[in-house]
C-alpha cells in the first residue's frame, strides 16, 4: 500500500512539526509514505466560501498529485471532510472517485485501516483536553456526539489511551465548535474569537495543560485566542503525541 501524504497549507507554513510527526509516525508503523512536492491545498477555502468554481484548478492539481497513490492520508479532519464529501468542482472521473474514497484523516487511518492500538514509544505525562473538530466529530464521525442518543465512542481517545502517563481533562462543553470555521474566522471575527476564548477557557478550567486535536486549523485559532487573553494553555497535534513527543 503506497500512501500519499497530504500536508495542508497552514500545517506546511505554520506547523511543520505536525507534518514531520505525521510522516515519522506512519513510517514507525511500517508504512511506505511519499510526499508529492507540488501539492498546495484541497480547494476547501474557496468551496466553503461558496466560490466552488474557483476551487476547480486547485482540485485538478490535487488529483494530478495524488491519483497515483493507493491511499491518501492527511493530519487534518476538515480537509479530509472536504475531499470526501464536497470535492465536486471538477468532473467526477474514476481518478477523482478513487481519491475521494481513499482519503483518510490520520486518526481514522490508524484506528480503522491499520488497526494499531499500541504506541510503545509514546509517553505524555500531562493532563490534556481533547478537541474534536466539527469536521471529525460530525462529518467523519470519529467520535460520538452529544447531540445524538448514541453509545460513547472516540477513535482519538482509543489511540491516546495507549500513551503512557496521559490524563484527560473533562471540559463542560466538549463538542461545542471553537469558532474557527475557515474564512468565518475573519468574516465574523468577533463571534469567532469569542467562541475561541470560551473554548480554551473551558479546557483551562477543567485543568488541561494542553489541548490536543487532530485538526491544526482549530488549534491555530484557539492558540491565537489563548495568547491574546493570557490563558495559560499549550497546544499539540495528536500526531506529535503518538509519535513520542514528551512536551
Amino acid at each position: 500500500m503506497k500512501i500519499g501524504l497530504f500536508i495542508p497549507c497552514y500545517i506546511d507554513a505554520f506547523y511543520p512539526k505536525t507534518g514531520i510527526a505525521t510522516l515519522e509516525l506512519l513510517e514507525k508503523l511500517g508504512q511506505d509514505v511519499d510526499y508529492p512536492m507540488d501539492q498546495t491545498c484541497c480547494g476547501q477555502p474557496m468551496a466553503n466560501s461558496g466560490c466552488n468554481k474557483d476551487a476547480r484548478e486547485t482540485e485538478e492539481l490535487f488529483v494530478r498529485n495524488f491519483s497515483k497513490y493507493d491511499v491518501i492520508v492527511a493530519p487534518s479532519g476538515s480537509c479530509v471532510h472536504h475531499i470526501r464529501d464536497n470535492f465536486d468542482a471538477i468532473e467526477q472521473t474514476d481518478a477523482v472517485k478513487h481519491i475521494r474514497q481513499n482519503t483518510y484523516e490520520l486518526v481514522e487511518f490508524i484506528h480503522d485501516i491499520l488497526k494499531v492500538r499500541e504506541f510503545p514509544w509514546a509517553e505524555f505525562p500531562h493532563k490534556v483536553g481533547l478537541h474534536n473538530s466539527c469536521g471529525t466529530l460530525r462529518a467523519l464521525r470519529t467520535a460520538s456526539m452529544s447531540e445524538r442518543n448514541e453509545p460513547f465512542f472516540s477513535k482519538p481517545m482509543d489511540l491516546l489511551s495507549a500513551v503512557k502517563g496521559i490524563e484527560f481533562a473533562k471540559p463542560k462543553r466538549p463538542d461545542e465548535c471553537c469558532g474557527f470555521g475557515g474564512t468565518y474566522s475573519v468574516t465574523e471575527e468577533a463571534v469567532s474569537a469569542r467562541m475561541g476564548l470560551d473554548k480554551v477557557t473551558d479546557h483551562h478550567n477543567a485543568g488541561a495543560e494542553y489541548i490536543v486535536s487532530a485538526d491544526t486549523s482549530c488549534m491555530m485559532h484557539q492558540q491565537g485566542c489563548a495568547e491574546r487573553n493570557g490563558v495559560p494553555i499549550k497546544f499539540i497535534h495528536i500526531a506529535e503525541i503518538l509519535n513520542g513527543a514528551r512536551a
Binding site: Y10, D12, Y15, T40, C51, R138, E176, A193
Partner: protein, 469 residues
C-alpha cells in the same frame, strides 16, 4: 423591504460587548440544549422518532396539494371558514375583511411567527385595528418595537431589568422591579382588560391535521386558549407546511416538540381545535407566502419540514453569541439562515455566512433537516448569483489561481514566513486586520514542511526510486 444586506457580523460584535447580556443569553440557551439532551437520554426511541417525524413530513410535503384539499374539505364540514392566502398581503387583507364584517377593532393574538412574517401588525394598525400580543415574550417585543429574537422564547435577548424598563414606560410600573414573577403579574394585569374586551382572537397553529380538518396549538402560557375562546371570532393563521396527514402522527410530533424546544416533556397546553364553538365563528387562513416556491427548490425544500422548535438556535454557538436581533429577520439562527434567503436573497445574503457549518443544528433537529449542508449550498447559490461581497469574490478567485500553481504558491508561502518574522507588530495587528483584532497570529517558523522534506527526505526517496527502477 429594503434590499441592503443585513450586517450580522457587526450587530453580533455589538451584542458581545455587553457582558451581562452575552453571558445570560449563552447560558440560558445552553441550559435549554442540555435539558433537551436529558429528555433525549430518557427516550431510547429518540432516533426512531426523528426518522419517523422526518418521513411523515417528507411524505406530506410530497403530497401537499392532496392533503391540503383533504384538510379544507374536512374543515368546512366542521363549520370552519377556510381561506387561502398566496402571500402576506393577501393574508392581511383577509384578516381585515373578516374583522370589518364584524365591525371589530381589537385583535388579541397568541404567538405566531407567521403573522410577523406577513407584517400583519404594520398593515392592520393604520387601519384602526389594535393588535395585542398575549404571549409574554412576544408582548415585550411588541412594546419594544422589535422582531422576535427566538421562535420559542421571543424576548430571550432581554434581561429582567430591560423588561422592567419597558413595562415602566408602557404600564407605569416600577422600573426597578427585579422579580420576573412580578413582571409577569404586571403583564397579566395590563392584558386582562384588553383580553376581555377583544372582539377577535387570533392564534397560529403548530400542526394541521388533514384527516380531521382540525389543528393543534401548543403553548406554555395558555394564552392561545384565551385568545381563541374569549372573543366570538377566532382566526387561525396557518402556514401550509404545518400539515400532517393523520391524528396519530401527532403522537410523534407532540413528543418531539417541547422536548427539543425547552427540554420539557410536553407544553403546558396542547389545544386541539376542530370547529367553532356554539354561536362563534372560526376562520382558518392557509398561507403560502413563498412556501410552494421553496418546495420547488431541489436543495432547500426540506427546510419546510421545520416544526419551529428552536432547538437549532439553542445549540448554535454562533446564534448564542450573536443574539436573534443580529439576523434582522423574523426567523433567526440556523433555520433563519436557510429560509430567510428564500424571502429575499440579497437582504439575507449574509446569513448563510454567519455560521461555522459545525453541524450541531442538523443533529439536534427533530425532523432531521440537513441545516448545515443547506447553509453550504446557499453559499454556492449566493456566490453564483454574485450576492456576496465583491472583495471576497476577488480574493477567492486569486486564491484559487494561486493554489493551482505550485511554484508560484511556494514563492508566496515562503514569503508569509518572512513577513511574519520581519513585519512590525502594528502592521499585522491594525484594525483592518480582522484576524489580529482579538487573536494572536501563528508563530513564524524557520522552514516550511515542504522545504524540510526537500532537505531531509527528497534525496533518499529519489535514491529509493532509482534503486527500485
Amino acid at each position: 423591504m429594503s434590499n441592503k444586506p443585513v450586517k450580522h457580523a457587526q450587530a453580533a460584535a455589538e451584542f458581545l460587548e455587553d457582558d451581562p447580556h452575552r453571558l445570560f443569553h449563552d447560558e440560558r440557551l445552553w441550559d435549554m440544549r442540555q435539558k433537551r439532551d436529558q429528555q433525549m437520554h430518557g427516550m431510547p426511541e429518540w432516533q426512531e422518532l426523528r426518522d419517523r417525524a422526518s418521513r411523515i413530513k417528507e411524505h406530506t410535503l410530497a403530497n401537499l396539494p392532496t392533503y391540503l384539499e383533504q384538510f379544507e374539505e374536512n374543515a368546512r364540514r366542521n363549520g370552519i371558514h377556510v381561506h387561502w392566502a398566496r402571500d402576506g398581503a393577501e393574508h392581511n387583507r383577509i384578516v381585515a375583511e373578516i374583522m370589518g364584517k364584524h365591525d371589530a377593532k381589537s385583535l388579541i393574538k397568541s404567538k405566531s411567527m407567521i403573522t410577523d412574517e406577513c407584517e400583519m401588525r404594520e398593515y392592520l394598525e393604520p387601519r384602526g385595528i389594535t393588535v395585542t400580543e398575549t404571549d409574554l415574550g412576544e408582548r415585550i417585543q411588541q412594546l419594544d418595537h422589535q422582531l422576535p429574537s427566538h421562535v420559542v422564547v421571543p424576548a430571550v435577548q432581554k434581561l429582567t431589568g430591560d423588561v422592567a424598563k419597558i413595562f415602566a414606560k408602557y404600564y407605569g410600573t416600577d422600573p426597578n422591579i427585579k422579580d420576573p414573577h412580578e413582571l409577569a403579574e404586571a403583564q397579566r394585569e395590563a392584558a386582562r382588560p384588553v383580553l376581555l374586551s377583544g372582539d377577535t382572537g387570533m392564534t397560529g397553529g403548530n400542526f394541521i391535521v388533514a384527516e380531521t380538518g382540525g389543528f393543534v396549538v401548543c403553548t406554555n402560557e395558555g394564552n392561545a386558549d384565551l385568545s381563541s375562546n374569549l372573543p366570538n371570532v377566532h382566526i387561525a393563521t396557518l402556514g401550509i407546511e404545518r400539515l400532517v396527514p393523520r391524528v396519530e402522527d401527532l403522537g410523534v410530533f407532540v413528543r418531539l416538540l417541547s422536548r427539543s424546544a425547552l427540554g420539557s416533556p410536553i407544553t403546558q397546553y396542547t389545544t386541539h381545535f376542530r370547529g367553532p364553538r356554539k354561536g362563534g365563528e372560526m376562520h382558518v387562513i392557509l398561507v403560502d407566502n413563498g412556501r410552494s416556491d421553496r418546495l420547488a427548490m431541489p436543495q432547500f425544500w426540506s427546510s419546510l419540514k421545520c416544526i419551529r422548535c428552536g432547538a437549532c438556535m439553542n445549540t448554535c454557538p454562533v446564534y448564542r453569541r450573536s443574539g436573534g436581533q443580529s439576523y434582522g429577520s423574523v426567523y433567526s439562527g440556523p433555520i433563519g439562515a436557510i429560509i430567510d434567503p428564500t424571502f429575499n436573497a440579497k437582504k439575507f445574503s449574509t446569513l448563510p455566512f454567519a455560521s461555522t457549518m459545525n453541524g450541531s443544528c442538523s443533529n439536534v433537529c427533530p425532523v432531521e433537516i440537513n441545516i448545515h449542508e443547506q447553509i453550504y449550498d446557499w453559499r454556492r447559490v449566493l456566490a453564483e448569483k454574485h450576492d456576496i461581497p465583491f472583495v471576497k469574490r476577488e480574493i477567492m478567485k486569486m486564491a484559487g489561481r494561486l493554489l493551482a500553481q505550485p511554484r508560484l504558491y511556494r514563492v508566496s508561502i515562503e514569503g508569509t514566513e518572512v513577513a511574519l518574522k520581519t513585519m512590525p507588530r502594528f502592521v499585522l495587528y491594525n484594525y483592518l486586520n480582522p484576524w489580529g483584532k482579538h487573536r494572536e497570529l501563528p508563530h513564524p517558523v524557520k522552514e516550511t514542511f515542504n522545504s524540510w522534506y526537500r532537505k531531509n527526505r527528497l534525496k533518499t526517496s529519489t535514491k529509493k526510486e532509482h534503486e527500485s527502477a
